[in-house]
Amino acid sequence: MTNANEIIILMAEDDEGHAELIKMNLYDSGIRNQIIRFSNGSELLDFFYNNRAADGQNFDKSFSYLILLDINMPEIDGIEVLKKLKSDANLKKIPIIMLTTTDDHFEIKRCYELGCNCYVTKPVEFQKLTETLQRLGLFILVVKIPENNGNH
């Protein structure tokens, strides 16, 4: 199911509903990549640092990852995760897209300062996400236009 060229999307989102909606929206946008969901920041960090399995998979350096990170999460929030990953020489190349419910300028600025690659508001709109992925040079790797697109 997974091969080395495919990007695995790691999503840290505490709200189950949001996670579900994002997954569905990504699918509708033609993204068929594997999406692994973490319900908070500490779970995601455990995946990288404590070899915690998620969806039956462990962190593998040979794979490519893309992280969707919610900002407001209990215990360890998105900002802290961002800080931690971006200050880690091994992990800082992983593209991170921040997810938030508001477009608070102060918060957006802070995320960019900490090295996030992009920032999108929930629920993730198809248009915004494709733009983002294009900018990140990930579009071709991530997006497969659904075969039935335009047929309904």
């Binding site: 509903g17 579900e20 215990e75 629920p123």
Partner: protein
């Protein structure tokens, strides 16, 4: 003869005629004046009639008349041969007998004018006055001499004048001395005699205090030169010379020489006395003037001073003047209070006796003089300054302005700014409260928008999803030809997705409800005005534990409550605070350990501080500030229910009490929640 010669003779005759004529005239009237050949004049003089005539030690004539005569004779080129006689009679007889050419100083009377040639210029003019004893007060002048014994000199001017007066009892004397003696001895009542002559005599014998002059002079006795009745020549030349002499400096000097200087009015004694009197008068005048001026100045000063003191004393500011006190090494060690106003004594509740002239350490009863470094600097450098202080004993704030009027001195003007300070503090408190409120409101708005949006997003998202699925189903319904076809096309996936979407919508709606009710609670709390009362905290905690009894029993919580100090607060609100804290402790207990709660309290400075200590899961360093945030929940563990507003409410209530709340915690090692309430009602 020519005309020129004749004219010359005529002019010559005109010019010289008067000379010839005069020579001729004199020659005619002179018989044979022997002195013309011998150039020696014979003068008859008295032996003793000072100061006109006296005989010197060598029995030679001297005196005023003699000096003048010698002077004139010298000027005229004559020598004098003297004939000395005893009295006026002899003198006149000598002239009549042509035994003498002239008498240089004889009183001029009518009979003498008839019998002799008398000079028109006088040697002297003297008043003939009435002399009496100083003790005599009956005789006031010549008229009073009627029937009194009146002394006169035989054939003298007075005698000749008065000898025929009726009722005047004249007693004649040969010379002055006998007459003077008779007057002093009381043999005569008065002595009428030329004034300057007798005055000189009196002065010589020091009788000035025994004899006095009364009334107007009897007459003016004129003394002149007396010549032979026929001797016009001598009369003329002497008269001319005499006229010159009388008006000359020489005459004045001679006169003084013989009559002597009248006793100087300004003798040493008088000068000294006068000076002393003048000095005394000046001193008195100066003293009076000075007194008046000083008095005036003093009054003005006093008035100014009074105004100044009234001003200073009526000032609400405390004014005091101080002087630095130095030790033997010249180092300032203390300061002394020199002066202070009423406000000083009133404010510090002191009396002047305990303040003036005393050292600061003594007055304020401190080891170090208060603010000594500041005052020392001001008094030594003269640089004014001001500062604010809080004076603990009377719980007041003061603004102290200090300046130095002169080196080593300083004045303090102290203003009570307690009210201003209180107002300032009140204002600051209000501003802080307002800031907190605003911050809180912004926080609530932000968090509300965030947290309310989150379930809303789900509702929107899943509603979209349902609508999409339903559209798919409708499409299937439209296209399906048979029921089986329909059944095949509407899959379980559709059902599952629609069901789960509804489920999410319901959960989200419920979540929104919880959030909104939380907001409502906060809103209600915000509008509530705390009812401040004295609260028995031990009783309150007992009540809270009773209310939570079921929960406590259920979770087997061990609660230890120490003896708690009372406080001032709103009973219901504080109930909520402690209920929330205990509730939280139960929520965040360790699952594997019995929850032990310890509630304590103590008084710290201006606050009463309570502590709720648990042995729960604790809070990580990252979250320790977030716990106060609205809707923040430490975990998303759904086992732990709650709105995420418990601590927000606690903080809110404590803020309403002007108190403070904080937490000490370590992840895994329990938490200590502290609540500090002000001791005094605000």
């Amino acid at each position: 003869m020519n005309l020129k010669k004749i004219l010359f003779i005529i002019i010559f005759i005109f010019c010289y005629y008067p000379i010839f004529a005069a020579e001729k005239n004199i020659d005619d009237t002179n018989i044979i004046p022997s002195y013309k050949k011998t150039k020696e004049l014979r003068a008859v003089v008295l032996a003793d009639f000072p100061p006109l005539y006296i005989l010197d030690q060598n029995r030679k004539p001297a005196g005023l008349a003699i000096d003048i005569l010698e002077y004139i004779a010298k000027n005229l080129g004559y020598k004098i041969k003297y004939k000395v006689v005893e009295n006026w009679d002899e003198m006149l007889k000598s002239l009549e007998a042509n035994e003498a050419d002239l008498a240089p100083g004889v009183g001029i009377t009518a009979d003498r004018l008839a019998n002799f040639k008398v000079s028109e210029t006088f040697v002297e003019v003297v008043p003939v006055s009435c002399f009496v004893r100083a003790s005599n007060y009956d005789i006031h002048g010549i008229p009073d001499l009627v029937n009194r014994r009146t002394g006169v000199i035989e054939n003298g001017g007075a005698y000749n004048e008065m000898k025929n007066w009726e009722n005047y009892n004249l007693i004649t004397f040969k010379n002055i001395d006998s007459a003077l003696f008779a007057l002093l001895a009381g043999q005569i009542d008065a002595f009428v005699f030329p004034e300057p002559v007798l005055l000189k005599k009196i002065r010589e014998v020091k009788l000035e205090n025994r004899i006095k002059i009364v009334g107007k002079p009897l007459m003016e006795l004129k003394r002149g030169y007396v010549f032979n009745k026929n001797d016009d020549y001598l009369h003329k030349i002497f008269d001319e010379e005499l006229k010159k002499v009388v008006n000359s400096e020489f005459y004045h000097n001679i006169y003084l020489k013989w009559y002597g200087e009248p006793p100087e009015f300004w003798n040493v004694k008088k000068v000294v006395i006068t000076c002393v009197i003048i000095i005394i008068v000046i001193v008195i005048v100066l003293f009076v003037w000075k007194y008046k001026t000083t008095r005036k100045l003093y009054l003005a000063l006093k008035n100014t001073e009074k105004q100044y003191y009234e001003l200073v004393n009526n000032m609400t500011e405390i004014v005091a003047q101080h002087k630095l006190v130095f030790d033997n090494n010249g180092a300032a060690i203390d300061y002394e209070i020199i002066d202070a106003n009423l406000a000083f004594y009133k404010t510090l509740n002191l009396t002047p006796e305990n303040v003036i002239g005393r050292r600061a350490t003594e007055v304020y009863k401190t080891a170090e003089p208060p603010f000594f470094d500041i005052y020392k600097e001001v008094a030594l450098t003269g640089k004014a300054t001001n500062f604010e202080i809080y004076y603990e004993p009377i719980e007041k704030y003061f603004l102290i302005s200090t300046f130095s009027p002169k080196k080593n001195y300083f004045v303090t003007v102290t203003t009570d700014i307690t009210l201003a300070k209180k107002n300032e503090k009140l204002l600051n408190d209000l501003v802080e409260q307002l800031q907190n409120k605003t911050e809180e409101m912004e926080n609530i708005l932000y968090i509300s928008s965030h947290d309310l949006r989150s379930p809303l997003l789900n509702i929107q998202g899943f509603t979209d999803r349902i609508s999409k699925k339903i559209n798919e189903i409708f499409a299937v319904l439209d296209s399906a030809e048979t029921l089986d076809d329909l059944k095949n096309k509407i899959t379980d996936e559709h059902k599952k997705q629609i069901n789960s979407s509804f489920n999410f919508i319901q959960i989200s709606a419920k979540k929104m409800d919880v959030l909104i009710s939380g907001l409502l609670k906060l809103s209600r709390l915000g509008r509530l005005i705390p009812q401040m009362n004295n609260i028995d905290m031990n009783a309150l905690l007992e009540e809270i534990i009773k209310n939570l009894a079921i929960k406590i029993q259920e979770y087997n919580v061990k609660i230890k409550i120490e003896d708690l100090p009372n406080c001032i607060g709103d009973r219901n609100l504080l109930n909520q605070v402690f209920t929330n804290l205990i509730d939280n402790a139960i929520k965040y207990r360790k699952m594997d350990t019995q929850l032990v709660l310890n509630i304590s309290g103590k008084i710290e400075n201006e606050y009463i501080v309570y502590c709720v200590k648990d042995n729960g899961i604790g809070i990580s360093k990252n979250n320790i500030e977030k716990i106060w945030k609205l809707f923040y929940r430490i975990t998303d563990n759904n086992d732990i229910d709650g709105e995420g507003i418990g601590l927000t409410i606690v903080k809110n209530i404590i803020q309403k009490h002007s108190g403070k709340v904080w937490v000490k915690s370590e992840y895994g090692n329990g938490s200590e929640f502290y609540i500090a309430l002000p001791k005094l009602k605000k």
